[in-house]
Symmetry: C2
Subunit: 297 residues, 2 copies
């Protein structure tokens, strides 16, 4: 991989900051420029040595930029792309780190149309309990998966550049179409969060909520752990990915309709078959997953 | 509390065996008799000192019995009550340890009609990873809740006897009508298991199941942990408690319909309110629950 001469990080938090540190650790980048809305965070990023300098305009940031990582807060992505568009050179490669792709890609089409050959969406499956530039560290992506979802317009060289950058961070690349990405994460991440929030909200609204929670034990604890997640972040994810999420929810509602019918007819045999299949699949997955520490969501 | 002269345990496993050991620890029982279908388990119970003797017929078991705990496998409860009925004396107090009440109570009405004054259903919220008489220990019920669900026919003295016995084991008693019990546990225990089995079964049946499970992370792990549970046990519980479970499932489906509508209309504000309420309720519960180790289900 050719080193990156000038890397631009928009949103120097846990994700963007760790990307910068990891590439520096790999000796793959000469100059790192931070850009964003929070002067305080950017000053801290300089202090911590996460970036070399801060740009105060997109014109300055993008001048001579080789690779740009967009990792701002979810709600700012559209404004970011709109602001950077006039200054984006034809040969600069752009990627992002968003947990949803459809909405980010729609913004890419909306604002970065002329540059689509070099705009390659991605989603690093990485996280930590804490956020912000103080939490950034160079090993965040070690052994982690990064999903790259190339656009039809992407030039192979640009896709390769983005893959190489994430690999230099220690990650393992998985390529798939954006639509597949959104359905996969709707199924295994977004829907479970929705379901857990739903159960807790349902029970919390009951007249006998205190009694109910009083008898909740370890199963409830595990099932609802993710209902302790950040409401704003999950609102953003669910709204951004709502099309895929609705598709997954509807599949799941069909599954519940089936279970409902089995209960209604007292069909213990089919219920046991269903539970057995689920138990076997879950245990098989849990065994494989032991070799790979689960990423906090 | 007057000591129990003759205690009969039907089903000397984790639950029945620990009840025996706890009462012995409390000095509250003179003679413990085990009865059941598995001669091997009963021999082991004698070996371990969990019971003093084994009865080979209900006539022998119930002769002069003061208190009887019914803790056989769920599927055997009906047969047990049918077999014991002819030999049950008017003043013997009977209780059980079943996780569901409606079905057990229906069996009580069906077989123990003349004795209902002294037949007091209960449900100890206690468990451990292992089962069987080798797993039994005298502290299983320490600090645990036991739900006692008296029948309208119960004599207060019989209810008191059952309460005192569980309290002597170290438990904290909660009394409530059987219908309430079944709805509470459907909501906080049975439904979450059904929902977790449902999601895993749904995804495991997909053509891209391997890909899906490949991207499942910590949220999925927590949400689906209870899908690793015993399919036969949970089939029995769900079938036994299906009336209450259907009621809870329908409430939950209404909750999901609401969330579905919010997603469809892209109502981020209401979604965030919903998630916030859930998050606050979950966190408040988790803090209170820290003072009380969660019982494995």
């Amino acid at each position: 991989m050719n080193p990156i001469r000038k890397l631009v990080i928009c949103g120097v938090g846990l994700i963007g900051g760790s990307f910068a540190l990891a590439l520096r650790r790999a000796g793959m980048v000469r100059r790192i420029v931070g850009v964003g809305r929070s002067q305080h965070s950017l000053d801290r990023a300089i202090e911590l040595g996460v970036v070399d300098e801060v740009a105060h305009s997109w014109a300055d940031a993008l001048d001579g930029a080789d690779l740009v990582l967009l990792a701002p807060p979810v709600g700012q992505m559209d404004a970011v792309m709109q602001a950077m568009a006039p200054h984006l050179a034809a040969d600069t490669v752009v990627t992002d780190a968003g947990s949803t792709k459809r909405d980010v890609i729609e913004a890419m089409y909306r604002h970065l149309g002329p540059n689509l050959a070099h705009v390659v969406p991605s989603h690093p499956i990485a996280g930590a309990e804490k956020s912000g530039v103080d939490a950034a560290f160079d090993a965040l992506y070690d052994g982690r998966k990064v999903v790259v979802t190339p656009l039809p317009e992407n030039e192979p060289a640009a896709v390769l550049r983005v893959r190489e950058a994430w690999e230099a961070c220690g990650a393992v690349i998985h390529e798939m179409p954006p639509h597949d990405h959104d359905r996969v994460f709707a199924a295994v991440s977004h829907l479970p969060h929705l379901l857990a929030f739903g159960l807790v909200h349902d029970l919390a609204g009951r007249a006998n909520a205190e009694q109910l929670f009083g008898f909740a034990a370890s199963g409830f604890r595990d099932f609802t752990r993710i209902a302790g997640s950040h409401p704003e972040m999950w609102r953003d994810i669910c709204i951004a990915n709502r099309q895929a999420l609705l598709g997954e929810l509807d599949q799941y509602l069909a599954e519940l309709a089936y279970l409902r019918a089995l209960l209604l007819s007292g069909d213990g045999e089919r219920l046991e078959q269903h539970f057995s299949q689920a138990r076997d699949a879950r245990n098989a997955w849990a065994e494989r997953a032991l070799t790979e520490p689960a990423v906090p969501e």
